[in-house]
Amino acid sequence: MHVSAGTEDADAWGQVARVPMPAGPHRVWVNDRVFRHSLLFDGDDGRMLGAVDAGLGLSSKPPYPAPGRNEVYVVESFYSRGHRGQRTDVVTIYDATSLSALGDVEIPPRVADTGHGIALAALLDGERFLAVFNQAPGSSVSIVDLEERRFVEEITTGGCAGVYPVGPRRFGMLCGDGTALLVELDENGRKASLAPSEKFFDVVTDPLTVSGVRDGGRWLFASFEGFLHAVDFSGSAPKPAEPWSLFTASERSDEWRVGGVQHLAFHGPTRRLYSVVHQGGPGTHKDPGPEIWVYDVDRKERVEQLDAPNVLFGFIRPFVGVDSTSFTASVLRTLLPSPGVHSISVTQDEAPLLFARNTDLGSVGVLDARSGEHVRDLEEVGLSGTMLVTVAP
């Protein structure tokens, strides 16, 4: 076929889109461990906006957005021969608008790898320092200075895991002796102090899940048996508050319990805590939940019970070619069994959206976080993944 080039009807070659800016309040990153990347979606219309890759690992580590720097960071591991050879770990720096890699910072090749990806790294307030959890199997944290784009140092944190940011130069950790640890950095990102709390939980009989949510200088953690622990990291050492029960005695006898992966979400302005719950015995702490219970953390009481969205329809709809507004779709939504959800995340604006996913289905349910109404699905988000990262504008 002969096509004359350069006519005014032809599209320009080589166009590359950019992520629309300024960002709205309803954006979410969705990771996928099979494709080893994370996709960015707009929760208002379900549109995909772009992607970043994730290196090797079990969970596909999530992106850490830094709106103030207009950058996105991903912690990645590579081998010199694909899956063999010398291991190299880096923090890759992306421009948040072009999603092009601007460079990377090499860090010690000991970055922790878990199936869930929860709390393995944290961007500290002010967006200057990134803390990366290592486990080999001794635990430590690597500090990266994002302003100078250099590795600062590795801080030994034996017996403690996870990183929970609480300020520009401080973060918390949970420890295997039932304490929390506060790590404080100096102005250059080097270790200034380590301060443990007193023992406040039992790691065997009722451990805290690592899927905490931040409330200012506090982090809220749920225990396996359904007690909420608030740990204040704003002082000189972590200060745990008296835990309170997420379940009544009657609910406990009916075996309601917390569970999933990223199973808590917190909307700061309304003080609402969202918790994925299911019915099951001990050992079911990773099971998906059919409901999401909502608590007022100041009144320490439940205020609502929401149904988890059925994410199965959103998963199969693109494959069966059913129009999402058709009668067939409404029938399928009713008939399909709901597999429940493992992970949730809520935006922080005045009209918040709650995102929910099952780790083994490639769709995300989008709820109005105030009413619980299932407003849409994010479809074809991947094949299997654990996390949802909402992005503050």
């Binding site: 461990r33 079990l58 591991s77 899956h83 922790a112 080999a136 079911t284 069966v320 429940g340 780790t359």
Partner: protein
């Protein structure tokens, strides 16, 4: 790794797929397979001297009674008795066995442990879930059971962690389940 797929939910989904999706789309079937393949996982390794193991010295004589009928005696099934705290792909389905890694992989030297009850002899055994590493996910026989499993700060009871640490390559392939000995105490939830 943690791949948090609930076996009961998976069975339910499997049934649904068989009953409802049979004529629906070959693509869905393939996707379901890929989804499971993605259920990455982690495995464990050997910590025979860890105090946590609490295995009775010398109690290995004879080993557990493996003459068990049904899935609790089948190392290719999630219900197999040794898998009470496994979160990973079964090496028994990947060219290895419950005690050996598939060809060309390496067994991790550190691990997480579980305490599982043998249904035949009624004894509790300390199980070491050594991961096999150096090739990408086997992708077969994913199981996730969490009896006695604890979060990653309690690392030797955690099955989320990639337990290929200490090897040349930390690429996870599948998990084994080695008996370390008779446990002197049951797992914490029993």
């Amino acid at each position: 790794m943690s791949v948090t797929f609930d076996p009961k939910a998976r069975r339910s989904l499997d049934r649904w797929c068989e009953d409802a999706a049979r004529g629906l789309a070959r693509r869905f079937g393939r996707r379901s397979f890929l989804s499971r393949l993605g259920l990455g996982l982690v495995g464990g390794a050997a910590l025979p001297l860890l105090p946590v193991a609490r295995a009775a010295p010398g109690a290995r004589a004879g080993g557990p009674d493996e003459d068990i009928t049904g899935p609790e005696g089948d190392p290719t099934k999630c219900e197999y008795w040794r898998y009470c705290a496994i979160d990973g792909l079964l090496c028994s389905c990947c060219g290895g066995s419950v005690t050996s890694c598939p060809p060309g992989t390496e067994m991790g030297p550190v691990t997480w442990i579980g305490t599982c009850r043998n249904p035949k002899d009624g004894k509790d055994y300390v199980i070491s879930y050594n991961d096999c590493c150096g090739k990408t996910l086997c992708g077969r026989c994913f199981c996730n059971r969490n009896e006695g499993e604890r979060p990653m700060y309690h690392w030797y009871r955690n099955n989320d962690i990639n337990w290929c640490m200490g090897l040349q390559s930390q690429i996870y392939h599948c998990s084994t389940a080695l008996v370390l000995g008779v446990a002197v105490e049951g797992q914490p939830e029993k």
